[in-house]
């Protein structure tokens, strides 16, 4: 049996498939391509679970949400419009929204530390990151966030990493809702311009 299998080694192909972008993969998923879905999952599932866990804390719940997100990706892939944005943002937006919904549904919002955003985000930097790529991303975002006013930064982080709504933030920060909206919008525009995001 050894001889049989051994003789076949020369016919093995060594060509590596070119890495497809998430946008291409998602477009293929829209046509029912399960292998593309598998690849897309491999590329983005760590991002999704990382983000959801940041908001929910609970690992089991976060994995559940991650599964829901990817099932939705499969079902809704046909609705993805690449002219409106990248596949990564489409999927992570979906993940963020679901995580926020869970956080709000399960509140207990008082369990959430009001200073969650800032402290958590900074703590993230202290961890030894697995890859240089991730560390570079951290630094880029960190540098861009540093260009925001303190109020803007606080609001953006509370909203994104804490899942806080306008009214919750207004309560916590003791400012009118209109002020919260303005801080979030100005902060995000500043962040966009600092990071050179184009869309």
């Amino acid at each position: 049996m050894l001889a049989i299998v051994d003789s076949d080694t020369e016919s093995w192909s060594s060509t590596e498939p070119a890495q497809a972008s998430p946008d291409d993969l998602l477009t293929r998923v829209a046509s029912g391509d399960q292998a593309a879905f598998s690849d897309l999952y491999d590329v983005l599932s760590g991002r999704v679970l990382g983000l959801v866990t940041r908001l929910l804390r609970d690992r089991a719940q976060s994995e559940e949400v991650t599964q829901e997100v990817f099932l939705e990706v499969w079902q809704q892939a046909t609705r993805y419009d690449r002219k409106r944005g990248t596949a990564a943002s489409w999927i992570l937006t979906m993940a963020h929204r679901r995580a926020v919904d869970r956080v709000r549904a399960s509140q207990s919002s008082h369990d959430r530390d009001t200073k969650i955003g800032i402290r958590d985000f900074e703590a993230g930097f202290d961890q030894v990151s697995e890859s240089v790529e991730i560390r570079i991303e951290h630094e880029r975002v960190s540098r861009a966030l540093a260009k925001l006013t303190e109020f803007q930064r606080q609001a953006v982080q509370l909203a994104y990493y804490g899942g806080y709504s306008h009214s919750e933030m207004a309560d916590h920060l003791g400012v009118p809702i209109g002020t919260v909206k303005t801080r979030l919008r100005d902060g995000m525009i500043r962040l966009r311009d600092e990071m050179g995001v184009t869309s």
Binding site: M1, L2, V5, D8, T9, S11, W12, T15, E16, P17, D24, T27, A30, S31, G32, D33, Q34, A35, A36, S38, D39, S45, R47, L49, L51, E63, T66, Q67, L71, Q75, Q76, T78, D81, K83, T86, S89, L92, H96, V100, G124, S129, E137, H138, R140, V141, V156, A159, S165, H166, S167, G178, K181, T182, L184, R185, M188, I189, M195, V197, S199
Partner: protein, 293 residues
């Protein structure tokens, strides 16, 4: 609750951060429909939020999560595309993918040819090896596997073909749904000699089992993976061919086994010459007993 003087143009940042209430979102959505500028700002801020997502350290999910997802999507229909916004890419993709997919699909899990076990000394030996010393058989298989699998992970570009003709159609993935839906659904994951994992799901009630391979490299040229039911010792330990898994190429592949699952049977997989064998001719690279956990 919301103020009277709401200006939807103020809501773009909050929208990107998911800080809006449902009312506010509805307000913004209606404003977006008539303002391309506002739409552009909303889109660009959503991409900016992506940068915030990227700053979070990723966490790799357990492989079981992917295995159950892959099984789930195999039986989950996709939404019909929205008619209005046509994507240029969407028109090319199905055309390019479909023929390959169809061809691969046929070959991927060919029904096993009618098998009546031929008995004989060799198969008798193989059978005993299987249920008596699966561990030993596996480590021997691992050594073999290194010889022929060591060369080529990342082989070729062949991909798992779609199980379905197009979006919006329910897939005929046969027994997999029924297994998953069964009240006595069970699952067990094992390492496959040569790389990757095999998750076996089964239900005695339904009398069916399925194998989901994840990251198992393609079989060598001229060879295929063949699945087997090995009856429990109590039932005489009969080995029945349960179908071929052709076209495996390191992604995730699933197949429902042909024939029915007898109580306490072990599910195994071997490398066989293309077309399959009546009885296993090599040591198994994977064997999972379906004894209740």
């Amino acid at each position: 609750m919301t103020e009277r003087h709401d200006d939807p143009a103020l809501l773009t940042g909050s929208h990107a951060l998911d800080a809006l209430s449902d009312d506010e979102r509805a307000l913004l959505d209606s404003a977006l429909a008539t303002s391309p500028e506002l739409q552009a700002e909303t889109d660009s801020l959503r991409e900016t939020a992506l940068q915030l997502a990227y700053a979070v350290t990723p966490i790799e999910p357990p492989s079981s999560l992917k295995a159950s997802l892959m099984a789930q999507i195999a039986s989950t229909p996709q939404a019909a595309p929205v008619a209005s916004r046509s994507e240029p890419a969407a028109t090319t993709a199905p055309v390019a993918d479909a023929p390959v997919g169809d061809a691969g699909q046929e070959a991927r899990f060919a029904p096993a040819t009618d098998l009546t076990s031929a008995g004989g000394a060799a198969s008798e030996k193989a059978r005993r090896r299987w249920f008596q010393r699966p561990a030993a058989a596996l480590s021997a298989a691992a050594a073999v596997a290194v010889v022929f699998l060591g060369v080529g992970l990342g082989v070729g570009t062949s991909f798992t073909p779609s199980n379905e003709p197009g979006p919006g159609t329910t897939q005929a993935s046969g027994g997999l749904d029924r297994i998953y839906a069964a009240s006595d659904f069970q699952r067990s994951t094992a390492k496959v000699a040569g790389g990757g994992t095999a998750t076996v799901v089964w239900s005695n009630e339904v009398g069916k089992s399925a194998v989901i391979l994840d990251g198992v490299p393609a079989a060598p040229e001229g060879k295929t993976y063949e699945l087997w039911y090995i009856g429990s010792e109590g039932t005489g330990g009969k080995i029945n061919a349960a179908g071929l898994m052709d076209g495996v190429s390191s992604g995730v592949h699933s197949a429902v086994l042909n024939g029915s699952l007898s109580h306490g049977a072990t599910i195994g997989m071997t490398v066989e010459p293309a077309g399959g064998s009546d009885q296993p001719t090599t040591t198994p690279i994977m064997a999972v007993p379906t004894t209740s956990a």
